[in-house]
Amino acid sequence: MNYTETENKIPLIAIAGQPNSGKTTLFNLLSGRNSKTVNYPGSTVEYSVAPLLPKFSLKAKVIDSPGIISLVPSSIDEKISIDTLYSHPELGKPDVIIVTVDASQLSRHLFIALQLIESKFKIVVVLTMTDLLLKKNFNISAKKLSETLKCDVVKLDNRTGNGVNEIVKSVNKILVSSHNVSEVHFHSHPSFDKDDLLLNSYDAIGQIEKDVLYKVQSQLSETELLKANEKLVVLNSEPAFLKPDELTLKLDRIFLHKFWGLIIFFIVMFILFSSIFYVAAPIMDLVSEGISLLSGYTVTLLGDTWYGNLISQGVINGVGSVLVFLPQILILFLLLGLFEDSGYLARGAMLIDKPLSLIGLNGRSFVPMLSGFACAIPAIMATRTIPNRRERLLTIFIIPLMSCSARLPVYALLIAFLIPADKPVLGGLVLTFIYVISVFSSVLIASIIHKIVSKYSRRKDSSFILELPAYRKPKLSNVIRNSYRNARHYIVKAGPVILMLSLLIWVLTYFPNTEPQVDETGKTADEIILLKNSERVATSFAADLGKMIEPVMKPLGLDWRVGVSLIAAFAAREVFVSSLALIFKVTDDGDLQNSILSSMRNATFRDSDQKVFTISSTAGLIVFFVFALQCISTLAISRKETGSWKVPMVQLFVFTLLAYIAALITVTGFRFFGMA
C-alpha cells in the first residue's frame, strides 16, 4: 500500500546528517537534481526542496539540508539550520528524516541519529560510504543496527544507486503507519544540554559499534570486496577500532608537512590561477572568430543601416565580447571543482588557519575566499560555516576583493592590450600577479579592520575545528556537471543584463546624430563608414553624458568613453568589455577581440592626438577593477547574509573610493617612471 494524500498535505522527507556524509548525493538520487556534491564538510549551506522522482511512485517532497554535528547549536547559523530542520518555514515539520551515516566513521555519525531518535523523529538510517568501510577491512551489519536502533537501516551504494528503492520503501512504511503522529520534542529537550547524557550516548554508541561492525579479509581487491559484500568471512570477532584511511595518512605526511606542505600549497595555487590563462587561450580564439564571422554576415546581409548596426553591434558584438571569456570561466570552475572534490581544500584551510587568525579571519574563511575567485555570491553564502560572528562578517567584507570570474573578461582584454600576443607567458604572469594583489589587499584590509575592532572589544571565542575528509579521486563527471551548471548560471544571470545594457549603450551611442556629415572626398567606402561611426559617437547622447564625468576620468588618463563604460560596469563588471566594444565602434577585421584591441590602440582624446589607452592608464584601469565593488548582486547577498544594509554600503563606499585612489596612484607611479 502506498501512502496517499489523504491528509491534504504532501509528505515531507528531510535528509539530515553530519557534514560530508553524502546527504546531497542521496538528495540528487531521490530528486534527479544536480546539486553540488563535494568532498568538503560544509558544501551545502542552504536548504533545497524538490519533489521525489516519479519512478519511486511516492508523492513527496524531499529536503536537502546543511550538515549538522549536533542538535544543540553552537553558532547562530547552526541554530537557523537546526530550527529549519525541526520546522521548515514554508513546509513545516518533516514527516520522516533520512539520516545519512558515514559507515566508515560510524560512531561519530551515529551520534546525530541517536539525537534525532531521542527527539522522537521518525527516521530511516542510510549507511553511506560502505565502500570506504570495506577498504578499511570492515563491514557493517545493517540488520543488527536496525534491531538496536529500532528503525530501518539501508545500505546505499551511491555509484550504482543500489539501495535507493529500499530507502523509499522504508520511508513509505513510516508514512503509512504514522497517521497518529507523536509530537516532536524540540531541541530544548532537557537531555541534550547535559554532558553526562552526551557521554552516555557515546558509551551506547561504542557498544553499538562493537555489535554491528566486523572485520573482513583484507587481501581482496576493492572490486572483489564490493562483490562479496555481506558474505565475507568474519575473520575476527574481536571488536577493532576504525582507523583513518591509510592513503590519506600517507598523503597528509606530504601535504601537511611543515615545509613542503606550504610550498605545495603555493604551487597548487599558482598552477590553479595561471592555467586559467594558458588553457583557455586557444578555445577563446575560436569563439572570438566565430562571433566576428556572425557579426560580419549580418552587416553584409542587412547593410550599414540602423537595424543592421543594432544587430551586428548592439547584440552580436555586445554580448559576444563577453561570451568570448566563457572558456576561461569554465576552466576556473573546472579546476576549482577538481580541487574541491579531492579533499585537499580542508587541508588548505588548516594550513592557512594560523596566518588568517592573526588578521581576524579563520581557517574556515579559506574556502569561501577561494570560491570568491569564481563568484562572490556563493562565496558569501559559504561563510555560514564560520561559527564566530565577527570572523564571518570580516570574511564577507573582504570577499568582494577576491578577483571573481566576472573580472576575467576585463583583465584578459586589458592584459592583451598591454602584452604582445607572442608573449603568452608574460600574460599569464600578469594575471597571476593581479590575483596576488587581490589577495594581499584583502589581507591588508582585513588586518586594518581587525586592529580597529579589537581595540574596542576583546572577545575571544574563536575556534577552529575541521574534519579533514579522506582524499578521493575527484569524480570527473560530478565536477564537469557542476562547472557546466555554474557556467550556464553565469550566462542565464549575466546574459540578460549584458544584453540590455549593450542595447542601452548602443542607443546612447547611435542617437541622435544618426547620419553624420563627413568629408568623403578621396576616401574608400570602408574609411567612410569608420569616419561616420566615430563622428556619430562623438556627437551622441553618450558623449554628452560622458563629458559630465570627464573631470573624474582625466586624472586617470582616461576619457569620457571609458568613463561611460565604467559606469555601465557597476551593474555587472563584464559589461565594461561590451561597452568598450560598442563605444569604440569595433569594425570587424579578423576576430572580435583583436578588433577591439586595435580600436583601443587607435583611440585618441577628442582634442588632441594623445592616445587614451597607454601603459599607465591601462594599468590604472586594471587596478581600479581589482578594488571596485561593481556588482549589484554582491551587495544584495551581503545585505541578506549580514542582516542590514550597513555592511554592503560600507563595502560599496570603501572599495570604490579605494579603487579610484589606487588607480590614481598607479597611473601617477607609471608616469613617474617614464611609462606613459
Binding site: 557515546y202 583513518p244 595518512l249 606550504l262 588557519d353 575541521l466 579533514l468
Partner: protein, 72 residues
Amino acid sequence: MKTAADLKVNETAIIKRIDRSHPSYRRLLEIGFTPGQEITLLNRTLFNDPISFSIRGTIFAIRKEEASHIFI
C-alpha cells in the same frame, strides 16, 4: 598535566578529560573527543598550529589552544 598538544607526531594517548570551562568543550565532546577515547597526533603544520588528530576513524584539525585543553 599532559595535554593532547604535548603529544609527539604519531604518539597515541587516551583522553582523560576536557576542560569544562573551554568554549569549545561541548563541540569537542560532540565530535567524539570523549574521555576514554584513543587519540593519535598525526601532523603539526608549519606554525605547530593547528594540529591534526585521528579519533574514531576520523581526522580532525584543531587549534593548539584547543588541544591544550584536552588532558591525557
